[in-house]
Each structure stands twice: as C-alpha cells, then as structure tokens.
Symmetry: D2
Subunit: 345 residues, 4 copies
C-alpha cells in the first residue's frame, strides 16, 4: 500500500516520555518525524540529550511554541503537568493531540484538584483500548489522554475480576516500579548511588496521584465505587512495573473459575497475554514492548484473589500506548509500529 | 571486663547465611571463630568461596561432621532444610545451637508437612527477641530457631497494629526482596543476566513457605487466627526486603492513634526504629545492619492501615538475628558485635 | 515488493544468542521462523524459556537434529563451542549457515588449539562487514562466522588508527562487559547476588579466548603483527560492552588528525557512529540495537591515542551481526530488520 | 586501657564522603562524634539526609563555621574543592585536620592550576601510609590530605612494579568505578535511570583530575617521570573501583618474579592483600572495608605486566583512609575502628 506518511511532532522530546515516543515512531512505517521541541533544552542537538536515538542525533530541539508544532497531523505532548491544555487549545480540532501527561485523565474535577492542586483542564478520551468499548471511543478521536503507567497495569490486572464480580470491590495494589517513571529531572533521591541496591516506598496511604485514576477505571466496571489501596515501591531498575493486586474473593470462586474469567476477558487482545498456569510475570519479558503479561490465582486460606501484571512503564505504560492510540485515532492498524516482543536478558 | 572468648563453629560456611554469620562474628569482641565446615566445598580455602572475609581467607573448610563441630561453645547451623535436627541431636545439650534454617521454626507439625513435605523435626525457641516475652525465652536457651527473613520484617511491621487490635486480622503483605534470600545454589533464573533490570513474582497465592510462619507469629497476638495474604517479589538487588503491609482498619482509628500504638510498642527496642512522620523506609538504610526501619499510616479512603518495614534479609533477617540470639543465650549484652548503622550509598 | 519469505531455523534457541537472533528475526519483514531446537530443553515451550518472545510462546523446542534443521533457507547455529562443524557439514552447501559460535573464526589452527584445546574446525568468512573488503566477501556466501562480541567492538574501535598507521602496533584494550556474554548456564559466580554491586576482572594476561581474534583482525591491517593486551572486566549489567582502547601515538599526530582518520574510515557505515567531539560513548545508547558508537582522542602527555567504543554484545555483538550477515548472504538490503536505535533509559 | 575519647567534627556531613567518615567513626571505640555541619542542608536532621546512620538520626546539621568546628581534637573536612584551606587556617595548629578533598594533594602548583583552574592552596602530608616512608610522615601530623579514590587504587596496584623497575615507566590505567565517587549533587547523567544498565567513559585522554595525582605518586618511585594514561569508566554500582593497570615489561621478567616483587612490597601491610595465584580481584570483596585486593600477572605475548586492584572508593578510597590517617596522627593503633572484611553478597 502506498500512502502519504503521517507527520508527527513531539513536544518535550528531551524527557523520558518524549524519547520513548520517538524511539517507537522511528520504527513506525507510516510516520515521518517532524518538529521536536523542548523546554530549557531548546537549541541543543537531540544526540546530546537522547544519544540512543542515533538516526535523530543531528536534529536540534526547537522551543515549544504553536508555530513549531503547527503543520503536523499528530502532536504528542510529553510536557510537565498543567501545560497540555493551553497548547492543545491552539493546535486546532483537526490535529490529533496525544497527551502523555495527566491533565486530561480524570473525569472528576474535585479529584483532580485534590491530587494535583490546580484547576482541572478537562477530560479527553482515555487511551486504554483494552477497556470495554474504549477502542471504539478512540477510533477517529482527535484527543487522547494517555493513561498513567501504574493505572495501566493495575487496571488491566484487576479489570476481569472486578468486572465479573468475583471479588469484593476493595482492592489492594502494591506496585514495584523502575525509576524512569519519576522522570529525568535531577533529584538527589533518584541518583544512581541512591537507587542501586535500594527499595523504597513512597506515596503510601493513598496519596499517590495515580490512585484516583485506578479508582476511576475500576469503578466504571461495577455499580458503585471500588475501594483502592495503592502503594508504589521504587525499585532499582530503569523500566518496568510489577503490580501485585488482590481483593477478597466472593465465596466459592475457584482458581479455575478465576482463570476462566481472565481468559474470556482478554481472549483476543493483541498486547495482553495471560500466562500459562503456574508461570508468573516478570517485567523483563515486556521491556521495550507493548505487551502486558498477567497471571491470576486464588489463595483459599487468605480468601483472596491474587493477580500479578507487568508492563514497561515507558512503553505500553506511556509511549507505546500513545502510539497505539494514534494508530486508532488515524485509522491505522492498531498494532502498527508496536511489538509484543520484549528485550531480554 | 576480662573473659575467655566464646568459641563458635559455623556449619555451612560457604553459603550466604554462613558467610554473614562469619562476617558478623569477625566484628564480635567476645567470639573466637573455630571450625568452619561445608558440604561439597569441604577442602577449599574460605578465601576462594567468601573472598570478602579477608582475615579468614586461609582457613580451609572441613566436612560437616560431629567431630569437627565438637568442642565449641556455640554452633551455628546454616544448612539446607532438614539437616539441622540430626546434627543438633549429637552436639549435646550444653552447646548453644543456633539454627539459621527453617527446621525448628513452626509449631504445628501439620503446617510443616504441608509446606515442606517432610517430617517435622520439632520446635525451638523462636529467635525474635522483639516479640513480647521472647527475650526472656531466649535468655540462657541452648537452642534457637532463627526466624525466616520475610517473617522477621512482616511480623515486626504488623505486630503493633495486630496486637493492639486496631486492624482486622486479615492482612496483606507484599514484600520485595533482594536475591540473596534465594541462596547461592546456581539456578538459571537467579543469574545476574536474568535478575538485573527485572522484577518477578513468585510463591503467589499463599504458597511461599514463609506464609505459615508469618501466620503463626501474628496469630499469637490475638484470640484467633490472622488471615495472611503473602506475596514475595524478587527485586534486582543482592540484599534487603521492603514489606508493604496493610489490613482493614477498625472504625475510627486515626493515623495519630496508629502511630502512637507503634511508638509505644517499639519505644525502647535497640534495633527497631519508627521513622519520623512522613519519612518512609528504604532498604539501603539497613543494609549490613541489624536495624529495622518501620513507618505506619492510615488510608482513610481505602479504610486500611498501611505499614512498611525494611530489613537486611541476611543481617537482621538471618545472621544478625543469629548473633543477637547467641548473645542472649550466652548472657552477653544483646547488642554486642551488632550495629544499627547501614552501609549506604 | 512481493517475495517469498526466507525460512530460518535456529539451533540453540533457548540460550541468549539464540534468543537474540529470534528477537531480531521477529522484526524482520522477509523472514519466517521455522524450526527451533534446543539441547536439554527440547520438548519445552519457548514461552517457559524465553518469555519475552511473546509471539513464539507456544512453540515447542525440538531436538537439534539434521532432520529438524533441514528444509530451511538459513540456519543459525547458537551452540556450544565445537558443535557447529558437524551440523554444518550435513546441512548442504545450498543452505546459508550462520554460526554464532567461535568454531570458524580463527584462521590459524595453532591459535585455535592453543586457546580452545581442541581440533580446529576450519575458517569461514568473518562476519564483520565493516572491515575493508569484507562486505563483498559476505555477499552471497553460504557460511558465516559471526565475530565474538569483544573482538567486534575492539576491532571497530581500533581499526581506523591501526590501518592508518597513526599508532604503534601495540594496543591495550580493557573492555567492561555485561554478563549475558557469559551465557545462560548457571554458575555460582554469575548469580545475581554475586554480580550486582560487583566489578571483577577475568581472563587477565592475554588468556581470554577473544584475544587471538582481536589480534587476527588488527594484524590484517598492517604489515606485521599487532601486539594486543586484552583484559575483560565483568560489570553489573545484562548487556553492553564498553571498550577502552589505546596505543602509543606516532610522533606528531594530533587529535584533529586522529579524528579525521576515523571520520574517513567510517564515513558512510550504516551502523557505526563517530560521536561529535567531546561526547563519549555509553553502552545504553546502543542496547538492543546494531549500532556501534565510537569516540577518539589524543593524550599528549601520555603519548597515546585513546579510543572508546560501545556495542550491545548480544545485538551487534552476536545476533544483530548474524542477521546483518544473513541479509548480505541472501542478497537482501544489509540493514533490513535491524535498527540503530537503542533502548534507553 | 582507659582513655578520654577523641572528639571529632565532620564538616560536610550530608555528602557521601562525610557520611562515610561518620559511618566509620560510629564503629570507632576511641572517638566521640561532635559537631556535624553542612552547607545548604544546615538545620536539617541527619536522619533525613543519611538515614542509614540510625544512631545519629536526631542530630541536626549546623552551619560550617569555625565556631561550630572549634573545640574538637580532630576535624574532618568533606567539602567542595577549594574550601578546605580557609577553614583549616582558622582551626589552629593543634587540631588534627583531615581533608577528604583534593586541595592539598598535589605538590606542583602548576599541575593544580592546570587541572583545577584555581590557585594552589598548598601541600599536606599525603594520606597513603602504604607508600614507602609515608607511615612515618603521618605519625603525629596535624594535617592530612586524603588521597583521591582512583589514585589510591592505581598507585597501590602499580607501585611494587614501578618501584622495582620491572616495567617501563609508561603505564596504562583503566578504572571502572561506582557512582558514589561523583558525589551526591543531583545531575541528570547520574540519575539511576541513566546509570543502571549503563557503562560510560569520561575524562578520557588524561583530562581527569586524578591523573596528575597518580603521576605524582608513581614518579616518586623512580628517577624520572612516569607516563600515565588514565581512563575512568562509570559503572552501574554505587561503590567500588576496579583498576586494570599495565605497563611494558622489562625484558626477561617472569610472572613468578613479578609476583615475588608484589609479595615483598606488601608482605605485612594490614589492609593490602595479594590474592593467591589465579584468583582475580572483585570489588564486592572490599565493599565497606579498608581492604585493597591486588593481583598481578605477565602477558608474555603482549610484553606487558598486568595488575588489577580493587578498593571501595568511599571506604579505603576516602573515609577509611581518613580514619586510618587520623589514627596515625593521634598515635592510636592504625587499624582501630577499621575492618578488612567486606560486605558481600
């Protein structure tokens, strides 16, 4: 098939999310990479900031202005929280805007204000095509709010059980994450010397900003609100999240029944794989890929369903979802330019 | 004070537990290191197997026989599961035997058989002096069952809340651990190439052997049995466990009250530190040390108490507890030769 | 262009080299993956052994027999040293055989016997297309000896200087490598617990088997033999080699002249990038990719040229070179299915 | 022996060097820890900045003023380059001042100005007691310049060969280091996300500031100047340096002779261990300790002596040397409070 390539710009090309979008776009057969913009890094060659993007090494970052971002079919926003709304408003309704930030994820303005401490910008179609009906919502859309990394894996790991009503709506998620989710801004506690050999808890007690997003996703699946206890753990690896999720099991549900629920729910999803019985997920299997690996079991003594899911926080957890949603928005094959093959070892 | 040094033997000196006991004994002012024995490594110099124990580099491992272990005041057993009973029986009742393995930890023979698949060897005094009344049990004892690493941190992190009855007896523990807990036997999934950059779940659904030990410890604190959902996660670091623990909060309990419960419970424990409000534990703070750092909060929305604890699985989680209990058994000052100072960064 | 896909088999699909070949073939538009064989792992599903190769998870490993490997256009051998010759002999002269092992790399039988302690199997076209004239040798060949990982990066980093005669033929290479180069066989010193937080030297004093291969490559560029002092260092990362190379500078050569030599030598190579002045290579920029990043400078005081190169030992250092050479052997575009984009962070 | 404890202050207690000095002083039986000062961190509790120093968690950092540092027997300076001179001048000649910074290491003012770009502060007794005659220089001194981490291990690894004249004075040092040597100031390229899985070269071509210090040390051992080619490599581990050192061998020197030279040179040094033949150093063996492990061999084909040494850059490479020198300066037993036992795994 011969077609004109889609022209894509990336705002925030020097950060981790922007870099990942570019890494994936470089492998996308239907995309031509247009403007690359940055904040304080404008004027620098990309090769000095993202040396792994070898083919783009000579490209120079422009300032993040509407002029520079104009004239593209799709614009990826990988900006600090709170900046996407103003940019999107000026880009016009005919441009596909994919926001990798949090600004348009939450539907409840009060929740946004509680967790982010600023005015709510609005709500865009939520970029998780694996949720019921969501693929249709995203087809042809001009605006996409890419989900947060923790919500992506937590939601996908729990959704089948919650939707089927085989658990009480009272879930516990403890998710160990690599450090790239914390971004590229230099902070002492994120130094390699601090991170290597270290495991640390943060955002404990429901204070992490991804908590209301998980709650929003899961609560849509039932009549009522799902209680979510979410604890993130920082782990010494650059990429990957492993989410250990559990909830009280409804009486009499067996491991086989739970497994059947998951099989049915995700049967033909291109990027979600329910592992064979007895095999548990590891993040390494999905690094660099758009795949999500999931496993589920039942702990009879504790009376809980326990499910574990893994995702690459930068790939399917951010940049991969962005590209997947772009494909849907533009009417391309959903999986184009994406892979379910991880980089291991 | 002038005293004759205690003469200590270590059976299983080539493994991680045995090596850690030796590392700590080398810093103990009242101990003289006697026989070092190994299994298939007998005949080799310790310097080839544990090159970090520089002062012992020239010592040659002997076979693990009663002859070689006789004539010591204390014998540390760091053997594979199931081997400690026979050795201990021949050592005589006047020798202090500290078992770093699992053989004598569980009180319920049925639980042992269910999780370990062999006959129950018996039950020895449980080497967690920080539990109520346990310090007294250990004083002057001739036998010690050193707790498992996960049970140590899980129990200490949850004990105050469970004992005070501020939570329902239905706890969820997700504990990320370094790899040394898996031992030194070479297995493909423990290779550095597999471990680095990887997070993986295992023993999910209550199948890990430390589950009944956590249950046993916590259930002693209430009238009834505590339900324990325990999931271990393998993390890319050699040492350290971070346990994220939670349970449904009894109605009306505030974060301040929860904190007061913890402060009171651990007020004067030499190795347990409740961190200042708002500071969350990280494993690196306790690496190489006998310290346990704990923090607790309340998640009002989720209706749960959330507590996080960290321990060095080889130090306070194994070898440090062994030395601490030896001190108690021999009537030495409990903290001798041990430190609450971690190695960081 | 419509074409029949090339049918490829991989012998040794459960190891790191075989897994990497498969990872790359899954992204190759012109290849269909045929038989996958293993040694002791025959009969197991690939998903249990290489869970990152999600699309092949259900494929079952066959035994490594001629029957199973027959009927393919290309066969990749990722076998232990010494096994490739017998297999290749039976595959027939019309099949492209790409050997990822060492058996056919060395030209001097005496060197082979000295370093490998067995009979020399022979010499196949050496799979480093970036060497002068080598691309032509590989075009249409039926046999390829994929270079060793250390020789690939050491040779490419030093070749321009040695060939131009701006250094004495007396080079020092110290190369820090990730652990995957040591393979997937479980050995205690390669356990994650041992590797993480550790740097260790091995094969010091010219005893590493890659030494004669580096010597062979560099000596072809001059009239005489290049003296090579090679020391590998094991570093705590799964992938990547950083080679620090130096040699006494011929009198009067400036940094600018050295740089010009490198620019000219590698000007239009698709996978080799001489970094901008002042930017030094890091392995992370090339992980997962076929790229080699190189930098060179002159240390006037020490009188030496110093050049640094990086490669992904499994990608361009093994599997990527294998696919690159397959492309040449089959008359496909050399870069098909390969990327110069690394996976970072 | 009953004695009044030495009272020690640490200026720069919030950084890595200051933290390591404190970690070691906490284990020193003859030292009482006095004032702790910091720059921008003054006013904060140490527990928030160095949570591993559990017993000092409640101590609050003071400002780095003469008033705060006065009244101590020994003052450790762990300050940014260029600040030690002014502080030391005001502390008085009767106080032992141990400078962990670079200010007083170099003897040649021109070299200082070339590499550091500021005025030379002077030269203090060099804190490497293992150099010939240096132990005597340090006994009773009131000023100590603690060596750099790279110079410590490079000098100790090469000194025997250079001093004995069995190599040409033309050495090549490639040293892979953990990240803590780069300090605790937050810089993007030192983030955990950048460091993990990465190997990178820096300061190539003789531009690293430790180059003239290595040259100074080695040149004292011969009649003339030793040419030093030094390349540091940043490796993904918090601590530890492995230095691979080589030099052209004088004709006819055998491996046995080289080994004998090293044995004689370091025969009774308490912290330096020449490993048994065939065993090569690894950093993990010396982490947290004051030990240096060294091995040497001869590469006959390449005509070079190759020696490898390891050190913990923060311990023997900084804080341990500081305490060792304090012991000498105060007339205490040199090894007091220090260990040759590393923390592994």
């Amino acid at each position: 098939m011969h077609m004109t390539k889609v022209r894509a710009a990336v705002a925030g090309a020097s950060g981790y999310a922007g870099g990942e979008v570019l890494r994936l776009l470089l492998a996308h057969p239907d995309v031509e990479i247009g403007a690359l913009t940055g904040g304080s890094n404008a004027g620098q060659p990309l090769g000095a900031l993202q040396p792994h993007l070898t083919p783009l090494a000579g490209r120079v970052l422009q300032e993040t202005t509407i002029e520079n971002l104009s004239g593209h079919d799709v614009v990826f926003l990988a900006l600090p929280h709170g900046q996407s709304g103003a940019v999107a408003a000026q880009l016009g309704d005919d441009v596909v805007v994919v926001d990798c930030g949090a600004d348009f994820r939450l539907e409840d303005a009060g929740e946004w204000e509680h967790f982010y401490g600023s005015d709510h910008a609005g709500t865009w179609p939520y970029g998780l095509p694996e949720l019921p009906g969501q693929r249709e919502v995203l087809a042809g859309t001009k605006r996409v709010a890419v989900p947060g990394c923790y919500p992506t894996v937590s939601t996908l790991t729990l959704a089948p059980a919650v939707a089927a009503g085989i658990v009480e709506p009272d879930v516990v998620v403890v998710a160990a994450s690599g450090t790239s989710g914390a971004g590229k801004a230099a902070k002492p506690h994120l130094l390699g010397s601090e991170i290597m050999g270290n495991l640390s808890a943060y955002g404990v007690g429901g204070t992490h900003r991804h908590t209301p997003e998980i709650t929003q996703n899961l609560s849509k699946m039932i009549d009522g609100e799902v209680k979510v206890s979410f604890t993130p753990v920082l782990a010494p690896t650059p990429r990957g999240i492993l989410a250990t999720c559990s909830a009280p099991l409804k009486p009499g549900v067996t491991a086989e029944e739970a497994r059947a629920v998951y099989e049915k729910y995700y049967g033909d999803e291109p990027f979600i794989r329910l592992l064979p019985e007895g095999q548990w997920p590891q993040t390494k299997s999905v690094i660099g890929s758009n795949a999500v690996h999931v496993q589920v079991t039942v702990d009879e003594r504790a009376g809980r369903l326990v499910a574990v899911g893994v995702v690459d926080n930068l790939a399917k957890g951010t940049g991969g979802a962005a590209v997947q949603c772009m494909n849907l928005a533009l009417g391309l094959e959903e999986t184009t330019g994406l892979t379910a093959v991880g980089l291991a070892p």
